[in-house]
Symmetry: C2
Subunit: 343 residues, 2 copies
Amino acid sequence: MSAQTITREEAVGPYFVGVDVGGTSIKIGIVDDLGRTLAYTSFPTEGEKDTADAIRRTTQVIHGLLATAGLERSEILGVGLGTPGPMDIKRGFILDPTNIPGWRHYPIRDRLAEAVGKPVTYANDANAAAYGEYWVGTGRNYPSLVMITLGTGVGGGIIIGDLSVEGENSHGSEIGHIAVDYGPDARMCPCGQPGHLEAYASATAVIARTTEQLQAGRASSLQAVLAQEQKLTGLQISQAAEAGDDLALEVILTTADYLARGIVILMHTIDPGAIVLGGAMNFGGSDHPVGKQFLDRVKQGVDRHAFPLLAQRIAIDFASLGGDAGYIGAAGLARAAQKPPTP
Amino acid sequence: MSAQTITREEAVGPYFVGVDVGGTSIKIGIVDDLGRTLAYTSFPTEGEKDTADAIRRTTQVIHGLLATAGLERSEILGVGLGTPGPMDIKRGFILDPTNIPGWRHYPIRDRLAEAVGKPVTYANDANAAAYGEYWVGTGRNYPSLVMITLGTGVGGGIIIGDLSVEGENSHGSEIGHIAVDYGPDARMCPCGQPGHLEAYASATAVIARTTEQLQAGRASSLQAVLAQEQKLTGLQISQAAEAGDDLALEVILTTADYLARGIVILMHTIDPGAIVLGGAMNFGGSDHPVGKQFLDRVKQGVDRHAFPLLAQRIAIDFASLGGDAGYIGAAGLARAAQKPPTP
């Protein structure tokens, strides 16, 4: 998704820079005080290269975007930086992210602050995306939200007022690692523990669960796809479900059931105003028949198992900022860090 | 437990009043700016009577305590009030607490504020107790904590900095209602849902689980107790375990296993500095052999199932304020509400 931008004349200062580091690309945007983007670009992460290279390039790109937006450096109050974990948020270190092998134990927050000459607020990428949805996305009308990101893995962010729950050890909001199955056949999570939500609801898990059923001989239009391509994609499963394939739909709806288990736990511990479902694995979103069935099934699970008052009041919907949520949220966290909290 | 009090000379102002309403008694203390008690008393709740009576009596008692402590009304900055739920914290209403039948849909916060002439901060009783432990109890050296209260039911409080997670609908921190068993034989929680922590780890649940094993013919010294008294107590189970009864110890250690499941979920979502176990069902606490075995078994479960870094860093211990945590924490929340948040 490319960001919708506003002009300098429409914008309301002060301004913030958001930087969203992912395994494949680094997204950077200049965001106004209302969370709207003035200028945006992205470039490949080249994660095998040195982190210092990325800091230099990021700094150059920020200067370029400022020129594009028609802003002076002095009009930028702060920079928000989101990266994947593991990380040490308090000390500002990225530790050893799986998909960015060249970046290890690097004081990324302070190096970026030195290069740009602005204070940098450092956050987990999933928490930053959650803050973006909270600030100007699906959660914008709610005082708190939990975002669950269904992608290659399952990530999340918990936002309560202006607080992003990052945890004492930078492991807050690790929603993919809530256990949703304690049975003897619970699926193994990539983290090594059984039964975690990520082992059921990530794209990887949905593909694995479908493939296992196919290998067990289950009739499905996907048998031919698997035979031909050796390997399924989430999109193929979603399309098969739309075309009426029973197995594909069953796997998707079972995914919703496990997701509802995690959501109910979050409702009983955080009691947020909204649950926002982000990430690529949205089955087309709520405008799409499969996405709508998925969302409805999640809500049915919540209705059945959450406190009735909460089930009645909670808003559950797909995210609305797409790939922009991360840098917008990072900018928003920089803004929240600059402003004195409201009493 | 009766509060340890300090003198007016030792105390550091400003001062706060904490009121902790329970099913059997109302506890009231005057607390200084460091969380120390200057004067304390309690009286029966008489929950069948009108709430207005209780407000009048509470106000009289507060004035009496001020005289005892040698304080002027003007030295009190605010009052903290904790009550059981269900409640509407934002509107300041107690709704329909199970154990206080005379108190229903009553604007308790504003009525108390009018009667005392001070601002009243309203909180769930379990969250207030958690804040007490965070402020001056077991959690005092940690920037965040989760308290789990094991009593007749299982309650809890999540404190992150000065934020008590009360939720949008006053149902935050309902830790007893985290699911820890999704199996077909999961135990039913009093709330009507299967598999919740409360259905395994409350005193009621521990007694029920033991009694079921006895009724199934399991050999145990408790068979004689049950035959004679028809009904067990938590203390009898704890004493049987200490005396070497296998069944009693097994039930207690299995309780720890279920508790660890809930704690691991809280570690992966909140990542707090400490987990504090409160409530009457502490098996004698960590100075007692059974309490120590219980705590060790909780820690073993956490070591096995939480992220290793978090398992290594988390502090897990029993609460230290006993029955004083509620009013001290309520006073602390009143204090936090009066002070501008630190940036």
